[in-house]
Each structure stands twice: as structure tokens, then as C-alpha cells.
Assembly symmetry: C2
Amino acid sequence: MEGKERVSLWIRNARVYNSFLKKFERANVAVRGERFYYIDRRQEIDFEAEEIVDVMGRYMLPGLTDIHMHIESSMMTPSAIAGCLAENGVTTVVTEPHEMANVKGLRGVEEMIRSGADTPVDIYYGIPASVPTIGDGMETTGGRIDFADMRRLLARPEVVCVGEVMNYRQIIQEKDLEITKFLRYLRENGIDIPVEGHCPSLVDLELAKYLYQGIDSDHTEHTFEEACQRLENGMFLEIQDKMLDEKLLQYIRKNGLYEYCAFVTDDTMADTLIREGHLNRIVEKAMEKGFPPEKAIYCATYTPARRMRLFDHGCVSPGKLADFMIVAEPVRLRPEMVYKRGRQIYRKGDSRQQKKGKFPKDFYKSVVVSEAQLAAFDGIHAPIQSGEVTVRAIEVSPHSTHTRGCHIRMPVKDGLLRWEESGCLLAAVIERHGKNGAVGIGFLTGACHKKGTVATTYCHDHHNLLVAGDNVEDMKLAVRRLFELQGGYLTVQDGKILAELALPVGGIVSECPAEEIGGNLSQVRQSMEKLGYEHENPIMSFSCLGLPVSPEWKLTDQGLINVKRGQRVSLFVS
Amino acid sequence: MEGKERVSLWIRNARVYNSFLKKFERANVAVRGERFYYIDRRQEIDFEAEEIVDVMGRYMLPGLTDIHMHIESSMMTPSAIAGCLAENGVTTVVTEPHEMANVKGLRGVEEMIRSGADTPVDIYYGIPASVPTIGDGMETTGGRIDFADMRRLLARPEVVCVGEVMNYRQIIQEKDLEITKFLRYLRENGIDIPVEGHCPSLVDLELAKYLYQGIDSDHTEHTFEEACQRLENGMFLEIQDKMLDEKLLQYIRKNGLYEYCAFVTDDTMADTLIREGHLNRIVEKAMEKGFPPEKAIYCATYTPARRMRLFDHGCVSPGKLADFMIVAEPVRLRPEMVYKRGRQIYRKGDSRQQKKGKFPKDFYKSVVVSEAQLAAFDGIHAPIQSGEVTVRAIEVSPHSTHTRGCHIRMPVKDGLLRWEESGCLLAAVIERHGKNGAVGIGFLTGACHKKGTVATTYCHDHHNLLVAGDNVEDMKLAVRRLFELQGGYLTVQDGKILAELALPVGGIVSECPAEEIGGNLSQVRQSMEKLGYEHENPIMSFSCLGLPVSPEWKLTDQGLINVKRGQRVSLFVS
């Protein structure tokens, strides 16, 4: 048996990560086709190989696996992000495309899958579970995902989980939703598939009720106590950047909970991706906070792969997919080479390649707005002819995407609101999916921009057109420009575009190179800051102003929403 | 939320095993229907419950899960063994019914599944991968499992794995077998299902070749070094009684390999089952050898459940199946109560119930032997007319089921062998499936019985009728009696049945109470010992004398087999 056997790839002189022993071992590694063939720890067998790479003592790690992320958060297409993932050593992701589903429904998901099918990394999908987030006359979306759609997606080989179940309050009240119908269907038919949760602040019996429905992970932000409750009740904990808390990491180490947590990115904006990296950056940060490298690697490779039942991913051992990276140091996950299914997909210094025009034509023509809708800005009718009225306004918070509701006095003349004199910005959400032409009007105050206009079609989750400004003409200019671009993010002041990013695919993502998207996004972000926006992530803050499941008051094309009550409220306090 | 909610079962004052923290915690546990609802660690919520059980500080453990076992090894039907499993706290098993498959093919598997469908424990199945073990004119079986059968079984909800792939030598030579065709089919279609291995002594590149085919567990007997190689290469290690080695258990502890190994029973004879218990006994033994109880429980519950992708089994947490047992001490797994899917299935002192007549009629009429076949004993023709010949005989080993080949000189008179004068026993394997009426003749020496006759239809894996004795008349009596019983195990001396166990279902299992099967089996065993059998398990030794994949020489209905060469050999040395 010790003859010169033929293999496709032979990595020599590596320090190979062993996922089972959680340590590095010196070995030569033979690959046959897509899979690892032999980890030769004695380094004694001489193969004949199509490709031999001597890595001269460098470290060989399984490719990273990010099981909770949303590609659209980077405002990129699957094809566009794949190269960025590869160069960061991320060889497998599970994305939940609820943003595109809100624009295009089932077709949105299917076209995302199709467009990413030929990328060098493995992109798996979660079934969007909450599209629309709330619906029921409180928001208009371009598409929805119902029970039948979920069943249809379940049959696809790229689909590995049910995506983020966001309507957790309704779930624990055992309301009859499309997603609860689907969860029941899965259970009654003995279909086992991971169900990704989203349940910030749920604890004790309420947390148990959520788990009882079969939703068994959470990736949202928690206190230490909340995180512990999740782990001790068998919930899989997905740790994103803002959850990298030393006390929590110590608790995981102390109790050896490496099977029950994984690092994830959730949302990564394009400029952060270009500047800092992807999942590799989260893992590095965990190590910087004292998490041992051998454990951190495990929680970003083999554990997440198994969470998603991707049993042949995430470790370097015979029979598993040959997905790996070569790094100089195990604490700095900046790969020199990355292989996927036995083929090199990245080598340091490589330039990235990506394809455009991967979506059907109507995806590039998804923003429908009319001049008639813009007329809604011109005169906001008050319930009195003259004097002063009390108006409900949204107070933007500087540190959170949650807002507060507040009351503002505004003058009225000739039956019209003189909002320009109130210090508030006029905000509008314009239905842009060609459904009903609705326009929701509201007012902003607080940490938002103080002057100029910001507008976008990247408006969670319905992705209608949100515009907020200090004068109607600039706002109209912004809307017209977004129509021309067929989606994007931009700022305007004094009749001029200050900064803009085009998002022409579904009005939410771009097929341009990552650097271009990241660069333009940075400019919009900086421009917003210059206009007075005071949030640590103005893009995230602004894009969430229309999200009707995020407290306290939000604006949709159907008007002002009191989120806790789940009701539309009038602009005027009577 | 803190009102008096209604649940079906409320276990109060328990010390509950937490699989994630691997420790016991005081809690009340609420069950709703089939599943755990809430683990109330603060013991503060007052439920209204259909059934309240105060366990007064006793220990609550997940039901044990045995993922590698063969029900037929206990000579019981699924229905017969279920009660025994329940009283030993075993709530879930994965069985691979290759014995019945050798008798009845696909129908054998399907009828095993059907017959056990209404038992109180969960019985899952592995697809028999090696039926017949070798075939190709070297043994006649009643049925076979081919690629199409495997695909058909794969579609059944009770099937969770591919069962024991025993032909490991052929596998690593990449021979074209039914099972290799099936493994390729699974991989090409991205179908993920655990594949149970069987590869004693394989190491290094050969072991890697086996893993490369996607076979990723082993439960056979190993040296410490062989076991370590399995673990470090990502092979799941199933630890049966004879592998409970202290050095290995220490290695597992030192490296925290609790995810990668599980305790299993493999084969448990009925008398051992009655006397010592089942998987609970293996776990107790591991604890006695210093394996910490909290880890031992984990490796017999949550780890094996996940190995078999039974993600809602094996732990006490919200949303999981309410399978559990109550014991007084966690180191003595003799349950006072056992619950399965929220319902009590055993209470100490309960008598066991089981059903008969669960199989189709032909399963009770599976032993076909003719007087013409018996005539084969009467005169064994030698290649000479008179003098002495050298005969190949099977030398039975006292400690192993492996045999050795040896040469014996025997007198010949009138062209017939005078074997009675040689000190050997005459042995015959009589084809009894109604296929071809073949009779294989051989001779036994060594640790087998020295006088009298032993006969059985429980003859691995083809389960033809094996008889070996010191005179032809007793042998004929034994065969006729087995025909009357339609299968069984018995001893005969001087024209009298000494002990017998009837195995009328497929000639290999019984629907009688476990105590009756165990008692009769014990009597047969003792009778064999009285007749001079010197093996520690004469039943196992005798039943393996026909197994043509177990070295060195074995006897089938097709004659004497040299196992290493995989060839039939002549009885006479020429």
C-alpha cells in the first residue's frame, strides 16, 4: 500500500489544525479531487501529485464558515461578495436573503441563489421566515414569503436552514403566522433543519416558549445573564462583533461550550469589509480578548459547519471537503492561499474578479416612483386652518437603531403645516414597488442629520424609498436621482448631490467591485456626518427608520407606526 | 406570563442533567405533550398539570441512546426487546437488521421495522450494507440487499444511517460493490447520512482510504493506538464493552473528546440482557473505570443522538423530546421510572408486556430442510478406496471467534471416511432457505464440544442450519428437531435433546418473553459447556463458525472457505 499513489494536491510541511484534538500538528496533507485523502503525520508517504505546495511550516486551517449573515447587508450580490470572502479565508457562508425577498419575494431568493451558483465559495441559504416583517396594512413590500414558498425553498439543495425568525413576540403568543405554520409542518413531518432565531431580551419561560417551537439559535445582542440562559437551555449562541464580551468568552471557556457557540458576522457593511475583513476579523478579536486560538478556530469552522448539518465541511480530515487556508500565524487570519474543494481560489496579491448582469432584467428596474407621489411633500394638510398643532415626531437615538416617539408643536397657516420652522426634518417613505403608490409622511428630530437631505431605497425591510430633508426641492431631487439610479444611497444639499452610491439590483445591492461600493458608501456616511448625523453608524440608523418591528416609532409608506402596539398612529395629536 | 399555565406533566424537585453544562441542577421540569417545555431552575412557576410527579431530589437523566446494536443478537424481535430496553432506561436505539436481511432480504428489514412500530421506545434502523457478507458462490442466503433496496430503505423515515460496512478490505481496494455504488450515489446527490463502519486493525493510509469513502465510525475492537488514530482522524468511536479500556478512557478525558465517542452495545445476548442490563451496564462500567458520570451520561445520550442526526433526542431542554429516566443515584442507572415522548413507559416493579404474531406467516415457516440433505451425513466419500487421507479441519479457538485451519489424518474404508475415529466432530451447514438444498461438510477440532451434538439456525450471517456432532443419528435428530421448531439452538446426546431454545421467527429470533429466551439460552450454553465447549461464549463461537468474512477457515453450505483468500477449498489435501 506504500507505493507512489497519485493524488491531485499535496500540501507539504504544514502545521495542520486538528479539529478533534483542537491543536496543530505537523503533517503533509494529500487531497484527491474535492476531498482530503490523507493527513500524513509521520510525513513518510511519497505521493505523486498534480500539484505540490511546500508551505514551509506555515499553518493550515479549515476554511472559515459563517452561518449567520446577510449578503445584502454588504450591498453586494453573491457574486460580488464571494471574492471578498475568499480573500478573508471564508469558504462557506449561510446567508438569509430576506432583503431581496422583501423586494422580489420567492423570485428574489431564487435569483440570489442562481446568481451565486458559480462563485468560488459555498453559499448556502436560509429560508426567509419573516417577509414581510409585519405586513397587515402597516407596510407595503415588493414580495412576500408564505408557507408555500417556504416549502418550495426547503426542497432546494442550497437551502440548509430556516432563516431568522424575527417576530418572536408573536411566536411566543402562539399566533398563527406563515412561519408558525411552517414550523408545525416541519415537526409533523419529522423534517429536521436548523431554525435560526432572533429573540433579544427573552428570558426564562418566554425563552423556553420560543425554544419549544423549535427555534434554537440566537445571534442578537444580550447581557451576560441572557447569553448564559441561552447556552444552558441548549440554544446555539451565534456571537457577532458586538457580543465579543470577555466575561461571556470566559464563561464559554470555563464550561467548554465550544460545541454550542460560533462566531458570525450577521451584517457587514462594504466599507468595513474592505477595511477590516469579515469573519476572520471577529475570530481575531475573540483571540485578542483571550479566547485561545485553537478554540476560536474551532468555533468558526467545525462547530458552525455542524450546526448547519454541513458535516463534510469545516475540518481537515480524510473524506471531508478540502476547504482550507494557509496563514503565517494562527492568530492573524490573513491567508496567503485559500483552497475550496481542493482548488485554489485565492493567492495573496490576486486581483478579484466578478461578473455583472447576473440578474433578470426586472431586477434592474425595480424602483417605480411617480411625480404624483412627490406632490405629497408640497403641502402637509393640518387638521386646523391656522394656529399651532401637536405633531408626533420620531426622535432618532445616537447609539441605537431604536427610536423614541415625541411630540412637537408646529405652526399652521392656510391649513398647511409650517414644519420648516419647527427644527424637524420632513421624512417620507414612498412605496416604490409599483404596488399602490402610497406615501407615508413623518418628522424626524434628535440624532439625525440637521440639514440637507438623505435618501435611500435601502430601507429595512420593505426597502421602499426613504427620504428626509430640510427642504422639499432637495428631497424631490434626491428621489428623482434615486429613480435614475434605480436605487441607492445619497445625500443632497442646496440642489446638489453631495455623495451617492448606486444600488441598481433590486434597489438594494450593486454588482460593482467591493472597493467601489465601500468607497462610495464611506463617502455617503461621511457626508451624513457632515450634515449633522450623530450615530456611530448613520447608514444603519437611517436605514432602520422604516423598520416596523424595531421600537419605538417608525415610518413606513402606510404612515407612522407605533411598534410596541403594532398600530398605525396619526401624525397629529388630537 | 407567570399565570397558572397548563402542562401535561410536571416533574418536581429533580436533580436534572444539563447536557450543555454537563452537570446536574436542581429544577422542576414541565412537559407539554411530547416535548420538554420549561426547565424551571428557580422553581418558581406554578403550573397546572395533568400529571405531577414529585421525585424528591432524585436524578433526572435523558433516556439512553444506543446507536450501534443489532436486535437479532438478543434473539428477540423488536417488540420483545423494547420492554427490556425501557426498563434499562434505553429510550432510543439504532439497530441494523442484517441478520433478518440475510434470511428475508428487503422484506426482512421492512417487517422488522413494521413489527417494532408500536413499541414504547424509538427504534431507528441502519441500512444493511453487506448482505450477503461475501456471496459470490461462497454462501447461500435467504435474501440479499442490493443498491435498489438500499435506495428504497433510505426513503423510510425510520432509517437514519447506513449500517455496518463490513467488507472493509474490498472497500479500500475500491472494488465495485453494491455498497460502494450506494456510497457514491449518496455523495453525488449530496445526501448526508451517517455511515457506520467496521474496520478492525486498519491504520494509517488504509484507515484514511476507508474514511475517504465516507464511512466514518468504528465500533470494533482496537488497540489503544488504533483507537487514537480513529479519533484524531475524525472517525466517530463507538465503545462497546470489550473496548472499556482505562487508558483509552483517560485519553478521551484528557482531550475532551466527548463529542466524538459514544457507548454502544453492538451485540447483547438475551441472558446477559436479563442478568446485567443493556447500555446502562456499559455506562456504569465506564464510570467504574473512572470516567466521570457527567461525561459518561453525555456519551450515552446527547452525543450518540447527534451522531445519528436525532437532534431532538438525548437532552433535557425546551423543545426536545421528553425522554428521560429517574434514578436514585447517577452512577447506578437502574431507573425507577422511564418516560418516552412525555409518557411513562416503565415504572419499577412493572411487568413487561409484549405481542406475538407480529410477522407475516412465511417468517414462521422459514426453515426448509429435507431428508435428502440429511443423507449427506451418511457417507463422506474419500478420494481413495482405503487407507488414510489428510483432511482440512477447522480448529476452534478458545478466546476468539477466529479459527485456524489444520490438517488431520483420517482412515478410509470402502471409499468412505471413518471420521468418527479421528477425534474430530462432523459439521454440516445445510442450506435451509429453500434455495438450492446445498450441504457443506467439514470437521471441527479444538475448543469446540468434545461429545454430543450442537445445532442451530442462528449461524452468522447466512443463518443456514449448522450442526456438529459425534454421531450421525444425533445430528439427524437435531436437524429434524430444528425443523419442527422452525429454527432455534439445541444440544443432543444419546438420542435425547439436552437443552433447546426455539427461534421460530425467520429461524433466528423469538417472540417469547426475555426471561424465557434468556433462560433457555443459558441452558443451551451450559449444556454446550458440559459437552466440552471451552469458549467464554460458546454460543457466539459456534454461531460464527459459518461466517465467511471471519478468519481463518469457516464452513458454509458451499463448503469449506479459506477466508483470507476468499476461496472455497477442498476438504481433502491432495
